[in-house]
């Protein structure tokens, strides 16, 4: 038996975390919960997950964006830079500006995928599997 893939779930809503954890464990993934950007930063470095599910709006409007940007671009996270990040969010637009995947103008790396909240269990599992296979 191979060890199950580890998924870091960063979301400030405990109920949402519980529900998504149920989905992930049903597919035998190991779930590492984090209740906000700070804990998320800590755990991605400490636990080296295979994939990150990241909420966009937590304490402030752009928490998820900043965290994703840091992980993909800053030196501090060099060791985990390649970890796939999937945005899980109920917002598609922030004050009219749409998400830029894979960087935008500055050529900076962005999230690897995006899923609407609430997530369809089958859809979530299929996307995770797709990114883990890469």
């Amino acid at each position: 038996m191979t060890t199950p893939a580890k998924i870091l779930l960063i979301d400030d809503d405990p109920d949402f975390r519980e529900a998504v954890t149920a989905i992930l464990t049903s597919a035998s993934y190991a779930v590492i919960p984090a209740s906000g950007p700070a804990e998320g930063k800590e755990k991605i470095l400490a636990e080296k997950p295979d994939l990150v599910l990241l909420d966009i709006m937590m304490d402030s409007l752009f928490d998820g964006f900043s965290l994703c940007h840091d992980i993909k671009n800053s030196k501090e996270f060099e060791a985990v830079r390649k970890t796939p990040i999937i945005f899980v969010s109920a917002v598609k637009q922030i004050a009219g500006s749409r998400f830029e995947f894979k960087g935008g103008e500055q050529g900076l790396a962005g999230p690897d995928d995006y899923i609407d909240k609430p997530v369809k269990p089958a859809d979530l599992l299929a996307r995770i599997e797709k990114h883990l296979r890469k």
């Binding site: 809503d13 109920d15 949402f16 519980e18 529900a19 998504v20 149920a22 989905i23 049903s26 709006m57 409007l61 109920a90 917002v91 637009q93 922030i94 004050a95 009219g96 749409r98 909240k117 609430p118 997530v119 369809k120 269990p121 089958a122």
Partner: protein, 373 residues
């Protein structure tokens, strides 16, 4: 009492003036810095960001006027008071034109300096407060919609997420009756989330933020794809759907693809939803004078004359829905209208009760005179 000490920079080549100014200012509770020429002065403005600058107009090398010009570029909110040895009205006016707030003719008394400086700093304080307020208001407006949306949606999303888990059997198996009720509750919740989305879309258009950047857009392939995408939905309801576009050149429009797609998705799905059994939906594109024209026609129950004028109003659920399951928020068409109008276009409807309805969208060509291939 000031909360923090204001920093005043004195730029003057005469040591006695610098010293006396510093003395006066420090005694009055200000922090003071000095520079003996214009170059040093500008460097100190950059490094120290003083609240106000007192500058001699006539200095060897860089003049006070040059300092003023630089100051305006570095930070126009820093107050400038000029010292004029030759107190002519002309040089004072010239200095004010270059952004000075006031002037001090030499020789001046400590009281004159204090008074003019106090007035300048009061002006700065008010200007900064007004600026901060304006920025805060802008930010509030921008974030308000997003925050409200987030706070309304978060609890509902969590509930719906639990439902999804339960319905997927991931928290244990459910009895048929239980599953059925959870499914109904979940359906209602999805509708509520849709309603909130629609409402927020409307709020965004009202603040002018829904429609993104307008770019030249060829509607023909975009619409063709959309019809293809909607075809399974039509088949499911036993409808025929047709797509009619001219072979030749067709002008592009200035549009935001995402919101326009939202409009046409809404029109086509309405045409399917409100059609007769085995009905037909026709989507056409063409040109008419300076507009590109898109028509979505159905063979449905139509809209009565009384309802026709109200069909684009918000929250109107007109009677053509009566025999159908109540679906949607009643905002779709008013959103469509606002999006089209934000593009400088028009949306109209013609309907014959019992025969069908035709919705016509007109969008201005991006280059009215020349048709692009």
């Amino acid at each position: 009492m000031r909360e923090s000490q204001d920093l005043i920079l004195i730029i003057d080549d005469e040591e006695t003036i610098r010293d006396s100014c510093v003395q006066i200012l420090v005694k009055s509770g200000y922090a003071a810095e000095t520079a003996e020429n214009g170059e040093t002065g500008i460097q100190k403005i950059r490094d120290l960001r003083p609240d106000a600058v007192i500058v001699d107009l006539k200095m060897p090398g860089m003049s006070g006027f040059d300092v003023l010009e630089n100051l305006r570029v570095i930070d126009p909110q820093i107050m400038a008071i000029v010292i004029t040895g030759y107190a002519t009205v002309d040089s004072a006016v010239e200095a004010m034109k270059k952004g000075a707030y006031d002037f001090l003719p030499k020789p001046f008394t400590p009281e004159e300096l204090r008074m003019i400086l106090a007035r300048a700093l009061e002006h700065r304080k008010l200007a900064l407060e007004a600026e901060a307020l304006r920025r805060e208001k802008e930010l509030l407006e921008e974030n308000m919609i997003t925050m409200v949306s987030h706070q309304l949606r978060s609890p509902l999303v969590a509930i719906q997420q639990y439902f999804e888990v339960l319905l997927a059997g991931m928290a244990g198996s459910l009895e048929e009756k239980t599953r059925e009720m959870i499914r109904k509750a979940s359906d209602r919740l999805v509708r509520l989330l849709d309603l909130i989305n629609d409402w927020l879309d409307l709020a965004r258009i009202d603040t002018g933020r829904l429609v993104g950047k307008l770019k030249p857009l060829d509607l023909r392939p975009a619409l063709g794809k959309l019809v293809e995408f909607m075809a399974p939905l039509a088949r499911e309801s036993d409808m025929a759907i047709s797509w009619d576009a001219p072979e030749g050149p067709l002008s592009s429009v200035l549009g935001d693809e995402e919101t326009l797609e939202q409009v046409f998705t809404n029109l086509i799905s309405n045409a399917i939803k409100f059609n007769k059994p085995h009905g037909r939906v026709s989507v056409r594109i063409g040109e008419e004078r300076d507009d590109v024209l898109v028509e979505v026609q159905d063979t449905g129950i139509g809209i009565s004359k009384e309802d026709l004028p109200r069909i684009f109003d918000q929250f109107v659920q007109i009677s053509r829905r009566a025999d159908k399951k109540l679906k949607g928020s009643g905002l779709g068409l008013s959103i469509a209208k606002k999006i089209i109008e934000a593009h400088g276009g028009r949306i109209d409807v013609k309907s014959e009760p019992g025969t069908g309805s035709t919705f016509t969208v007109r969008l201005p060509k991006s280059h009215p005179e020349t048709a692009s291939p």
